[in-house]
Symmetry: C3
Subunit: 262 residues, 3 copies
């Protein structure tokens, strides 16, 4: 039988014991779990980056995978823990928008996690990753049905960074979702909504930079020159061949990106 | 049957091949091992941080877990390799204090690891993680009884950072055990010995900073203000809501923290 | 039965979703795979460091392990994907020299990976780690024979950093392969070719530094003084006891190291 897969995406970093502690809790509840780290290096409290990261990764995992996402600036406050079902997979996270890019075009079902029976006791006020999210996910991976965790809700948070909005006749204002290790700037302009740009005249403004050209592969562009490319994520990215676009442009996650098509 | 769990805590970092090499050695000896990384990002040679990290993590792992801890500034010198049994788990490490916060309030049994039969040969003078600690732990995980590794000793190292010491009538001098990714400053004042501070007037001096207030959750405090909190570790932490206390205070692992209760 | 082991060595970092995505692809094809991270922190595009890292790690893994190495500045260009068989193990990587230090003294067989049947479709032009290397490796780990991937080639890339070259009567010019976390400078002078230096008078020039002394263990040297040592890798390293040699010398991966024996 396939072993249950359980992934972790957090802003805990890899220097501290937090991620390891969650794994101990998970293996105590579901010894057969295959635990996979997506990332523990989400920038602290950066829900946009967390949302982008899990949304990129989940689609490559088999059905029935359980994903735990803990980027949780509101831990200890009234923010709620939720369980989302989408694409045949489970997602356990705080209700702060960090799941908003998952299954955006699919049917999704969201539950409030309220059944304390599956929590680790006592529940601390500072580490719900260990006390709520990890044990709930481990019980799901071990076969507890989602309906046991709590009832379906519809008023979960849907943040504004989900997609670009029109801001003029031929202009859209979007956001930077992520700056990756190579300095590629990933926007929230998705090819499914902004296709065919390579055949048009356009400009994308980020900070003081204006990018106009588009290529099909990094190596097509001359070194040092900013260009746009549809990245492996399906989103429009601003890049430099063998260099860091982010350093050249000077933007950050959450900055605006304005597209004008002429 | 439950697969044997084996955890790793080192200062090897994740850029080098050292941690991966240890995993190869472990899987060669104990193919069914479930290897869990606690952290490889302990600051180089920082035994206090290593001691804190494993002491936080182990209690969330199932019994019979084997933990390998390699923060080893004295590799190649006369320092001894030891095996500690505590809380139904095994700990394999150099005898330099890195296990001193594990099982501090429990019965523990410490053995000198001397049986070269379980080492990888030849034993290098620079990488005992690969040649002694990993293979010994893998043999333990595979079922070799601890008594085979060597005889019980009582003179293992007990470092001074284990707990705060009285330094006046109402004053205790402790240490910074860890600064976590979020900039929280974790002291060695444990709630089991310093309880009820939230009902008292107290001040904690670290560097030039004086902290007086205490909260129950990060989100209770106004942004930017230093406060004390009993963290998920059970130790008193100095924190700032959504900011880095360490940056504001300017201290490091090993710095003193002086508590005065009035 | 032993579970198939599959290792990953990349320059993807741990902040992004790239490594996690590859693991999802692998587990979808080969659910029983035991995935081991060697490193995802190879410096971006640094094939020398990637080559050193996998060459250090593989020898400690059991036979039949499959290694995926993705340091791939030429992704999307004409560079070829290859499969190397050496030491009873498999290595999947771009043909850019990143496998050149593996099995350097053993028989190795190299195939061009050309059978698109084992790729993930559609193959992107920016992420062959996900679309070619991970799925091909997962199929190998699941039992597909190497001959199915493509035919044997002999003209794979052999880069110049493989070994030092004579540059005078008693002088050899080599390279820095790696600077590790502790600041140790690892050269490509291997003990198998440069043995007995501890009994000779020699100097090694790196940048403006000249190193003459040799020790058998880090702790033998006085703090602060540069020395040479045969590291756990078998290569000559320049080190400082409890300090960073790289900071003192100021060199980088790829810099030359000139050995003169008198």
């Amino acid at each position: 039988m396939r072993k249950p897969i359980l992934t972790l995406t957090t802003d805990f970093g890899l220097s501290d014991h937090y991620a390891g502690t969650m794994k101990g809790v998970i293996l105590g509840i579901c010894p057969q779990a295959q635990i996979v780290d997506i990332s523990h290096e989400i920038a602290p409290f950066e829900t946009i980056e967390g949302a982008f990261t899990i949304a990129q990764a989940y689609r490559y995992f088999p059905k029935t995978t359980t994903h735990v996402v803990v980027v949780d600036p509101g831990v200890g406050s009234a923010r709620r823990p939720i369980l989302m079902e989408a694409a045949g997979q489970y997602f356990v996270a705080p209700d702060n928008g960090v799941l908003s890019l998952v299954g955006a075009h699919e049917k999704r079902k969201v539950r409030l996690i309220s059944n304390g029976r599956y929590f680790r006791k006592p529940v601390s006020r500072t580490f719900h990753g260990r006390d709520i999210f990890a044990p709930v996910a481990a019980h799901l991976a071990a076969g507890v049905p989602p309906s046991r965790m709590g009832k379906i809700i519809h008023d979960y948070l849907r943040p504004e960074f989900e997609k670009p909005r029109p801001s003029g006749e031929r202009t859209w204002t979007g956001r930077i979702l992520k700056i990756d290790r190579f300095g590629n700037i990933i926007t929230n302009f998705h090819e499914s909504e902004f296709s065919g740009l390579e055949h048009k005249s356009f400009s994308m403004a980020i900070g003081t930079a204006e990018i106009g050209g588009m290529v099909g592969a990094y190596s097509e562009a001359p070194p040092g020159e900013l260009f746009a490319i549809v990245g492996s994520s399906g989103y429009l990215e601003i890049s430099v061949n063998q260099g860091s676009a982010a350093k050249q442009v000077g933007c950050q996650v959450g900055s605006t990106a304005v597209l004008t098509v002429s």
